[in-house]
């Protein structure tokens, strides 16, 4: 028995240590996330970017069939990094979503989206994704 105990003890100590370090390998704390989380969340984001891409390229279903990409191929010349800014066409300082709505109402001759409409979020995601890497310049005309 004595031999078995001494044989067991080092393993038990190891086990204790292992339990301490892994702390319950299944449990994440609030500030922690895994590599898989990052990949999955990026995919979530890209799925909305892709939805925005579809809407941007004729997916809004407006009667006059004008699509955003006709004036903004690859969302070029939308300057999302300059918002919020004074928007001459609206007479006041606005954020990007409001200007997108202006375009939907004016060149696209359709009805505006609610500011929290998932489609409006998707359009913004696509526009900003095509503009990634460009520094902020809020307020610049």
């Amino acid at each position: 028995m004595k031999t078995r105990l001494s044989a067991i003890a080092p393993a038990g100590l190891t086990l204790t240590l292992v339990v301490l370090i892994l702390g319950g390998a299944d449990e994440l704390r609030c500030d922690e996330f895994t590599r898989e989380d990052l990949v999955r969340w990026q995919q979530e984001y890209i799925s909305v970017v892709n939805r925005g891409d579809v809407l941007f390229h004729g997916g809004l279903g407006n009667h006059n069939t004008v699509s955003c990409d006709q004036c903004h191929p690859n969302a070029a010349n939308t300057h999302p990094e300059t918002y919020p800014k004074f928007q001459q066409q609206l007479g006041k300082v606005v954020a990007l979503g409001e200007m997108i709505n202006w375009c939907i109402m004016n060149p696209l001759e359709s009805g505006p989206l609610a500011l929290d409409d998932p489609d409006l979020i998707a359009l913004q995601a696509y526009i900003l994704h095509e503009r990634r890497g460009v520094g902020l310049a809020a307020g610049r005309h």
Binding site: F86, Q88, Q89, L90, G91, K92, V93, M105, N106
Partner: protein
Amino acid sequence: MGVRWSPPAGVMFVGLVASSLAPLAAPLGLPPVPIPADNPQTPAKIALGEALFNDPRFSADGQVSCATCHDPAKAFTDNLPVSKGFRDMTGTRNAPTVINSAYLRTLFWDGREPDLEGQSKQPPVNPVEGGLADHQTILRIMRNDPAYVKAIREVFQVEPAAVTLKHFAQAVASFQRTLVAGDSPFDRYFYGGDKTAMSQSAIRGLAVFTGQGRCVSCHVIEQTQALFTDNRFHNIGVGFKHIRGKEEEIAARFLAAKKSGADVDVTVLTDPDASELGRFAVTENLTQVGSFKTPTLRNIDLTAPYMHDGSLQTLEDVVEFYDHGGRLDLDDPLSGFLSGGIRPLGLSDEQEADLIAFLKSLTSPNVAGTPSSALASQ
């Protein structure tokens, strides 16, 4: 001052003048008045300018002054479609208000004068306005009337022999720069924070103005001020039906006349066809045929009828004209030269009524005049 200025009209807007004499103070909703460096404001110069503005002796029959077509009792317009000058002769264009003209970057509907100093010299010598052959009558009176002699000496420190048309123009402009008016119900609501200053209908109308009505791009409202004009020239389709099919002929005839020395000021005010050329008559730019300057909308309820030819009687007509994308009746032709900003709006009756309520909220206090609805019923 001890000298009598002839027209009594001068008294009527003293209130307006006095309140605006506070140095560089702009009314609520407006920026400071731009004053050119070579024509600073002084009380004496302003009073001289006011007298000149109201003096009917500066016309061929002694009956027509600036105030004839820009009547202080009528918000400095004449409430006529086109103005009547010397011997009741009519011109081709509607008299714009002088109120807030200090903020304009060009003068006249076609912008053919760059400033107020330039503008005031033209009407006295136009055959259908003042009717004078030249400015000599004006200079003679300014050099000989004792009241003017004294005032000019005080304001400009010149003796009668040295009086020029420039003194006339500078004094008149100086007076005109005091005719500023903001502080309307809209201004108090939008800039003054008084949420009760506009009616609910007018508040909805403001949303139409900046939204579906597509007004704000040309009739500018900004975060801290509202001039209600972009100071640019646009063809919105007014008057097109009168020249439809004749555009080429009219343009060619006008250019030929201009090339052989015809005076643009006279031509556009005496020839209704040439008048329709708008900014093209000044720049000869083919892309500006039929373009006219965006006027301010301040006090618009008092300055009927509307547009460069006075062809729209009421604000209802104006809103209908825009709603139809550049024509009053849907049977009227659409101008091929229409600005890209003009298109059918699809406004409902309620939106149109709200928009008109908003426009009526742009009337400043202490401006004398008759509301357009009252004029329409006359």
